[in-house]
Symmetry: C2
Subunit: 204 residues, 2 copies
């Protein structure tokens, strides 16, 4: 079979198909949308992607993503944020989710992933030593372990809890509550969630 599509299009489909969860059909749809759209749409997208790495770096204290010309995350340097409370999250975007609640006024620490032997991620790949240093230097009173409710997130939470205890650091450790999410009927809740909800039940 001869080449049915121009090389530039095949190449774009190929590269778009490397995005997570994007198969050949979706990549084709994206590419043909870009081709049909104004050339500026492609140019702006290409530019934004090309500039992505250059414009972003990790905060050296919290490992949140910050502008390349910032020194430290504004969520850390802001004097209104309570440095004695640290929420520990897996990924930088988890911060956005927590900030959206408007209920947290402490600071963050991004681990950079979760412990996952299958993916070859051990504790040494995560920003755990830097967390321990902060616990001491910032005289942290509470850390909220806000890892994901996945097997990896749970193992990471457990590892952190034990590791911090073993190091003899005196800090209150809490975890996000597990339970029934808003809007979910009891009959559709899975067994483990329901078990968590029972265990975590509260008095009126």
């Amino acid at each position: 079979m001869a080449q049915l599509l121009p090389s530039a299009l095949l190449n774009a489909i190929d590269e778009l198909g490397k995005l997570p969860g994007v198969g050949a059909r979706t990549a084709e749809r994206y590419a043909s949308f870009l081709l049909r759209a104004d050339i500026h749409t492609s140019e702006k997208l290409a530019h934004a992607i090309a500039e992505l790495h250059k414009g972003v770096k990790n905060c050296p204290v919290t490992f949140a993503l910050i502008d390349v010309d910032e020194d430290v995350s504004s969520l850390y340097s802001d004097p209104d944020r309570n440095k004695q409370i640290v929420a520990v999250v897996e990924e930088p975007l988890d911060i956005v989710a927590l900030e959206r609640t408007g209920q947290f006024h402490g600071t963050y620490h991004v681990l950079g992933g979760a412990i996952s032997p299958i993916d070859g991620v051990g504790p040494e790949q995560l920003h755990i030593p830097e967390l321990l240093k902060r616990l001491v230097s910032d005289e942290v009173e509470e850390i909220i372990i806000a890892t994901n409710a996945s097997v990896e997130g749970e193992s990471t939470a457990l590892y952190l809890q034990r590791h911090i205890q073993d190091e003899g650091i005196n800090v209150a450790m809490t975890r996000l509550a597990r339970g029934i999410p808003v809007g979910v009927d009891l009959e559709y809740a899975d067994q483990i969630t329901l078990t968590h909800a029972l265990e975590g039940r509260k008095a009126f």
Copy 2:
């Protein structure tokens, strides 16, 4: 609320969110994947998107997408393709779908869309005059109207059929069969598909 993410990241999320069917969460996922991945992944993607328009043009005869340095679609110029049979499709990628069957050895004509008053697309926006010219100059014997099985595709097929008749052009006109797709249980087939399947029933 202060800016939670670096501008370069927000910009990439914004531009990725313009792809069809990509909401804010998916755009965030794509952008954070690109940030975590090797910088070359972003560079190659950005380059492929930037070069997309430059490397692609429409075939002046069939309106298929061709390399910018080709004169005419190879599916048209190929002497093995039967120019007396023309499959009329809405979009360039429809050609790929038909070619994958390996069963069609005619040539193609891309309309560049379908008639859709809601989107402001009338017959005058489609490559219909060029199709009529081809019908005469290539002495076409059959056109297979292979528009989508959507309301717009059906209207376009009907319009084409009438328009070609009105022009007094003598050509056989056929349409792709409508019916039950392979692997679908009868009980799950919708009413219209089932009606088509009944109407189009064949003797053993």
